[in-house]
């Protein structure tokens, strides 16, 4: 009986491992929502802005493994090249960012137009460039049944004037959200959990950026300057 038990154990390990290696990732159902900023249409910033979101965004995936996995300290590793092209195609970060940003900035500015590339100088009063530079995940593992990752997005926003000179530049990191990653035979909880976190963070980012730009002194001064020049 012992021999059979051992054989089963071996078989179990082989098949489990082969299951791990043949795992394919399915599309990430990221679905960000646009928050209402409650800005009166008459109090929008009087600027015609271009919002530039390239696709793909060129986001890097930075993964920090849990302590004790052959590494005494937690050092981040760039995992972007481990993701093959198709996985990038099925993580629609740029598409969602484009949607949420244009819907938000349309509430802030008199006119907001979404573009894939930089406009010609002078075509718009201002250009907003958005980038999610990194998806940062830090893994923690207390036991195989108690493991999680903390996920945050590292972003960059710059606003250029109508000649391409920078008038505002902000960087930030979203608050880390916890994703439970304890042992599972399916990738679904990971994909769905990661998608939910990214969706939530993009939703929050849209609101944060909208409010930030609306209250930005630099932009208000620039809008005034433009108005006085037009007069």
């Amino acid at each position: 009986m012992k021999r059979y038990g051992f054989m089963f154990l071996c078989l179990f390990l082989i098949i489990s491992l082969s299951a791990c290696f043949t795992y394919q990732v399915k599309p990430f159902p990221i679905n960000a929502k646009t928050e209402n900023l409650n800005i009166e249409p008459s109090s929008k910033l009087p600027l015609k802005v271009a919002v530039v979101v390239p696709d793909p965004l060129g986001t890097r995936l930075m993964y920090t493994p849990p302590k004790g996995h052959g590494r005494p300290d937690q050092k981040p590793m760039d995992q972007t090249d481990q993701m093959h092209g198709d996985q990038v195609a099925i993580v629609p970060l740029a598409r969602e960012l484009a949607k949420v940003s244009i819907e938000t900035f349309s509430q802030v500015f008199d006119q907001a137009v979404l573009l894939r590339q930089m406009p010609a100088p002078g075509e718009f009063d201002s250009t907003i460039q958005l980038k999610i530079s990194n998806i940062i995940t830090i893994a923690y593992m207390e036991s195989p049944f108690n493991a999680w990752q903390e996920v945050s997005l590292d972003w960059k926003l710059s606003v250029l004037d109508n000649q391409g000179m920078e008038i505002l530049n902000k960087k930030g990191l979203t608050a880390a959200k916890r994703l439970n990653t304890k042992g599972s035979f399916s990738m679904d909880p990971f994909i769905n959990g990661m998608s939910a976190i990214i969706s939530e963070q993009l939703t929050g980012l849209g609101k944060e950026w909208g409010s930030m730009l609306y209250s930005s002194e630099e932009l208000r001064n620039y809008a005034k300057q433009k108005k006085s020049l037009q007069k």
């Binding site: 179990f12 394919q24 793909p56 198709d86 010609a120």
Partner: protein, 484 residues
């Protein structure tokens, strides 16, 4: 005790069952190549006059599932079908092309053309080979002055067949034909003019009317008119092969590549003293694999001696072989799926140059080999995000190589300049901008010091990273490229 053993065995069985389920329950997504979904543009000699300009906004995907465009039903369960890029971009390209034919072109305007994708699906029936595809788009023309919707239309396209890729391509062909047939948008011209919309002045209008890639007149081309009267000092012992492939037989083209090559040829003649009969220009269908081999491997060898200067320029697709990491120049008839037999290996290129007895060889490659987009392609189904292609080791000491980007980057184009980004600054540098101290001499080092920061800056503005590379022995850095 016996029952405990039985429980263990049962647990093992359950574990095995779960593992096997893990193997089969997550099938690989079926990835559609969006480049192959765009219908070929009909060539027309007649360029319609500009009706009115519009700002083309990036289209918004309004579908509830914005990643998968359908599911392939099979024995292992449904397999998601996903496009390799944003499907909205396919709609945008089609609409731009069709509108261009109608005379509605991109430019500063009080009208914005917005598009929202209402549907893009492809899938088969259970246990059936028959596949159906459907695409739906809503277009809206907005007046930014009055904030009114000036024009609105919905279009659909359908396809049917036995292959996911071709069925969806058929649906896009169908929607393209529907938009083409409907000229109702042209009635908005009156609204445009009545709302104070201006048609560009003659010179601007001319540039909008010829907005297609082939007809676009680049900035440098305009500057070149000033060079018309320049009498070059010809050195008969200089030879050049200039290749620019803008249109490919089987794959997506490379914007501005043929125009780039034409202007490089003119610069070689006017500014660098290459005699016209010593410059071979290969563009588009003239740049097949056998053409490239003929001129690089034989034509040069038959002419070059130890006092010769050789210049090679290439603008077009580059491609990596995902298995070997070797890089290839993709000729007009090249196929990224069969690089070894249809493309020209970069190793062979440098070996061939190494066999020349020339005094110096200057190579400028406005291409990239990462397989990550821009001016590079990759075989269907190959999936490196970015391939860092090594520089071939056998570059001889008499050879200077300028490349548009590092091995893992993409090279892009400079829309407003009408050139490949690298070529734009390469030409501007030769024209005199690289001579910062106005000493009348431009060395290889001067040129590189000028190109690199300018390309990096411009690429950053496009949210890209592109760092041109220079490979040259130290002794060649001071080589005079231009001496006035």
């Amino acid at each position: 005790m016996k029952s405990s053993k039985r429980t263990h065995v049962l647990i093992f069985f359950i574990a095995i069952l779960f593992s096997v389920t893990g193997c089969v329950s997550i099938p690989e997504p079926y990835i559609l190549k969006t480049d192959m979904l765009i219908p070929a543009q009909r060539q027309s000699d007649y360029q319609k006059e500009l009706e009115f300009p519009v700002i083309f906004e990036r289209f918004i995907d309004e579908r509830s599932d914005r990643v998968a465009i359908g599911y392939r039903l099979g024995m292992g369960g449904p397999t998601p079908i996903a496009p390799d890029k944003d499907i909205a971009e396919v709609f945008e390209i089609i609409v731009k092309k069709v509108m261009d034919q109608k005379g509605v072109r991109s430019g500063p305007s009080i009208f914005i053309l917005k598009g929202s994708i209402q549907g893009a699906t492809v899938g088969n029936m259970p246990l059936s080979n028959s596949i159906k595809g459907q695409v739906a788009l809503e277009l809206n023309l907005m007046n930014t002055k009055t904030r009114a919707k000036v024009w609105s239309r919905s279009y659909t396209g359908q396809g049917m067949g036995t292959d996911f890729q071709s069925v969806l391509a058929m649906a896009f062909q169908d929607i393209s034909a529907s938009i083409e047939k409907d000229d109702s948008i042209l009635a908005s011209k009156q609204v445009y003019l009545a709302s104070g919309g201006k048609l560009p002045q003659t010179s601007d209008s001319a540039s909008l009317q010829t907005s297609s890639i082939q007809a676009k007149k680049s900035l440098i081309e305009k500057e070149l008119e000033d060079l018309a009267d320049v009498k070059p000092v010809i050195n008969k012992n200089q030879y050049a092969v200039v290749i620019g492939i803008e249109k490919y037989r089987d794959i997506k083209g490379v914007e501005y590549a043929a125009a780039d090559a034409n202007i490089v040829k003119l610069y070689l003649n006017k500014l660098m003293g290459f005699s016209e009969e010593n410059i071979v220009l290969l563009t588009n269908e003239r740049a097949t694999k056998s053409d490239i081999e003929k001129y690089l491997d034989r034509w040069l060898k038959n002419r070059v001696n130890e006092k010769s200067t050789v210049f090679i320029y290439y603008a077009g697709h580059g491609a990596p072989n995902p298995k070997t990491g070797n890089a290839y120049i993709v000729p007009f008839d090249g196929d990224p799926n069969y690089l070894e037999s249809t493309a020209y290996s970069l190793n062979k290129f440098y070996t061939s140059l190494g066999e020349l007895s020339a005094k110096q060889i200057i190579v400028a490659l406005d291409s990239c080999f990462s397989g990550a987009g821009g001016r590079s392609v990759i075989a269907k189904g190959a999936r490196p995000l970015v391939m860092a292609v090594d520089t071939p080791a056998d570059i001889k000491k008499n050879t200077i190589v300028f490349t548009a980007a590092a091995g893992d980057q993409i090279s892009t184009f400079y829309e407003s300049g009408g050139h490949g980004l690298f070529t734009y600054y390469f030409l501007k540098g030769i024209r005199g901008d690289a001579d910062a101290e106005k000493k009348g001499v431009i060395t290889i080092e001067d040129l590189y010091q000028y190109i690199r920061p300018n390309v990096e800056r411009e690429a950053r503005l496009q949210n890209n990273e592109q760092t041109p590379q220079l490979i040259a022995a130290e002794g060649l850095l001071k080589l005079r490229l231009i001496s006035r």
